[in-house]
C-alpha cells in the first residue's frame, strides 16, 4: 500500500484500518439483527461498551460523525448498517462527508452525466 500514491479523500480499508476498527465494525455487523438494533437504540452506551469500542469510536458514534467513524477504522460496508438505524441513506452519508447539503450532493451526482463519453 505504502508504495502507492494517495488518492484524495480515500482511505483503503487495509490491515492497519481493519485492526483499528475491529470492535466498531463488529458492533455494526451485529446490526444485521433486529433485536441487536433495538438493544443499541435502547442503550447506546451500554451496547458500545459490550463491543469494547474505544473512546474515539464511541465519540464518533455519539456524534454521528461519518468521517470520524472512518478515521476510527470503520468500514463503510458495516457503517451502512449503523446509518440504517439512523434512517440515513448513502446520499445523506455522502453529503455529510463532503460538507454539502443533500440536495447539492444529489445535484452533483446528476451533473456527472456531463462527463465525456470517452477516456
Amino acid at each position: 500500500m505504502s508504495a502507492s500514491r494517495e488518492i484524495f479523500g480515500t482511505t483503503p480499508f487495509d490491515g492497519a484500518m481493519a485492526q483499528r476498527g475491529y470492535a466498531l465494525n463488529k458492533m455494526c455487523f451485529s446490526f444485521n439483527n433486529a433485536a441487536n438494533r433495538a438493544a443499541f437504540k435502547a442503550d447506546e452506551e451500554a451496547y458500545m461498551r459490550a463491543y469494547g469500542l474505544n473512546d474515539e469510536q464511541a465519540k464518533a458514534i455519539r456524534g454521528r460523525d461519518v468521517l470520524g467513524l472512518l478515521a476510527a477504522g470503520g468500514n463503510v460496508y458495516y457503517l451502512a448498517k449503523f446509518a440504517g438505524i439512523l434512517g440515513l441513506d448513502v446520499q445523506d452519508l455522502g453529503a455529510a462527508q463532503t460538507g454539502m447539503s443533500k440536495e447539492a450532493f444529489k445535484a452533483r451526482l446528476v451533473a456527472q452525466n456531463e462527463q465525456p463519453e470517452t477516456m
Binding site: 479523500g9 482511505t11 463488529k26 472512518l70 468500514n75 463503510v76 448498517k81 452533483r108
Partner: protein
C-alpha cells in the same frame, strides 16, 4: 455437457430492492434504470438458462472480518437471504446446484485457487438483486454463488479474478450436467460511498470498461487494485465481479443489450447482456 450461453452483468444498489418491492419501475427516477433490462429479459425468456453462476461480493451479511475469504464458493442446496440491517425486503431462498458447485470447487482447488467452500451461506443484495432484475417474474435459475472480497484490502488483483473466472468457466464446460449456464457479474460501476471523495463517478472509464467486456475482456486487468480504486472509486472496485463473470464465459460474444445510467443512489448503474457467439 453443460453449455455456457453468455454473461450478464448489473450494478446492485440496495435501493433497487426497495424500488421493486414498491413497484416503482415506471417512476421517473427509476424508469431509465429498469427500462435497460427489457432486451436482456427477453433474451433470458428465449434462452431459458438453467443455472446461473453469480460472481458477487458480500457486504457483511455472510462474512465478517473474523473469517474473511478472498474467494468463496457456495455448495449448498439453497441460499437464504436475510436482514442486512436496512429493512430492504428479505427474499425467499434461492435454489442451489450442489453438484455443479462441487465440480467447480474440485477444479478450482486442482488449479491452485485456495477457495472457501460454503455448504451454508446467506446471500445479500449483491446476489439477490441480479436474479430479481433478470428474472422479474420469478422462476429463476439454479444458482452457484462465487463471492469475491472487495471489502478488506488486500483484494485479489483483477488478473487473479480473471483467472478465477476462466477456471470456473473450464469447470462448467467440463461438467457432465446437460444444462444451459449463464454467468452473472454483480457490482459497480464507478461509485464511492466513503470519505471526502464520496460521490465520485467516472463515466468515460465506465463506458470504456463496458465496451471492453465485449471485445477486450482483460482490458481492465492491466490495472492494479489501487489504480482501479482511483479510476472507479472504493466501491467501483466491485467491477472485479464483472471481469470474473466475463472470463467465465470465454470466447467471442455479441452484445444483446447494454444500459448505463447516472445516478442510481450514489452509483453509475451499468447493465450488460452478452451472448456467446
Amino acid at each position: 455437457m453443460a453449455r455456457i450461453i453468455g454473461a450478464l452483468a448489473t450494478s446492485h444498489i440496495p435501493a433497487i430492492g426497495g424500488a421493486i418491492a414498491k413497484g416503482l419501475e415506471e417512476d421517473p427516477y427509476w424508469k431509465p434504470f429498469f427500462d435497460g433490462f427489457g432486451p436482456a429479459r427477453d433474451w433470458i425468456r428465449r434462452e431459458k438458462p438453467d443455472v446461473a453462476i453469480v460472481f458477487y461480493n458480500d457486504h457483511g451479511l455472510n462474512f465478517f472480518l473474523d473469517k474473511m475469504p478472498t474467494f468463496a464458493v457456495g455448495a449448498a442446496p439453497e441460499y437464504r437471504n436475510d436482514d442486512e440491517g436496512w429493512g430492504i425486503p428479505t427474499l425467499p431462498p434461492f435454489k442451489g446446484a450442489p453438484d455443479l458447485s462441487w465440480a467447480i470447487i474440485n477444479h478450482l482447488v486442482d488449479r491452485e485457487f485456495d477457495i472457501v467452500t460454503c455448504q451454508e451461506m446467506l446471500v445479500d443484495h449483491a446476489f439477490t438483486l441480479p436474479i430479481k432484475l433478470f428474472w422479474p417474474e420469478g422462476g429463476g435459475p439454479l444458482t452457484v454463488p462465487v463471492c469475491i472480497n472487495t471489502v478488506q484490502f488486500p483484494l485479489p488483483s483483477a488478473k487473479r479474478c480473471v483467472a478465477l473466472g476462466r477456471a470456473v468457466g473450464e469447470a462448467v464446460a467440463a461438467w457432465a450436467g446437460d444444462k444451459k449456464v449463464v454467468m452473472i457479474g454483480s457490482g459497480g460501476l464507478s461509485h464511492q460511498l466513503d470519505g471526502q471523495r464520496a460521490g465520485f463517478i467516472n463515466k468515460p472509464f465506465d463506458l470504456k470498461f463496458m465496451q471492453s467486456m465485449i471485445d477486450e475482456p482483460e482490458w481492465a486487468a492491466q490495472y492494479s487494485i489501487h489504480e482501479l480504486v482511483e479510476k472507479t472509486g472504493t466501491q467501483g472496485i466491485e467491477l472485479l465481479n464483472w471481469l470474473a463473470a466475463r472470463a467465465a464465459a470465454p470466447g467471442p460474444v455479441h452484445k444483446v443489450h447494454s444500459n448505463y445510467h447516472i445516478p442510481i443512489s450514489n452509483t453509475a448503474a451499468g447493465m450488460l447482456a452478452l451472448e456467446a457467439a
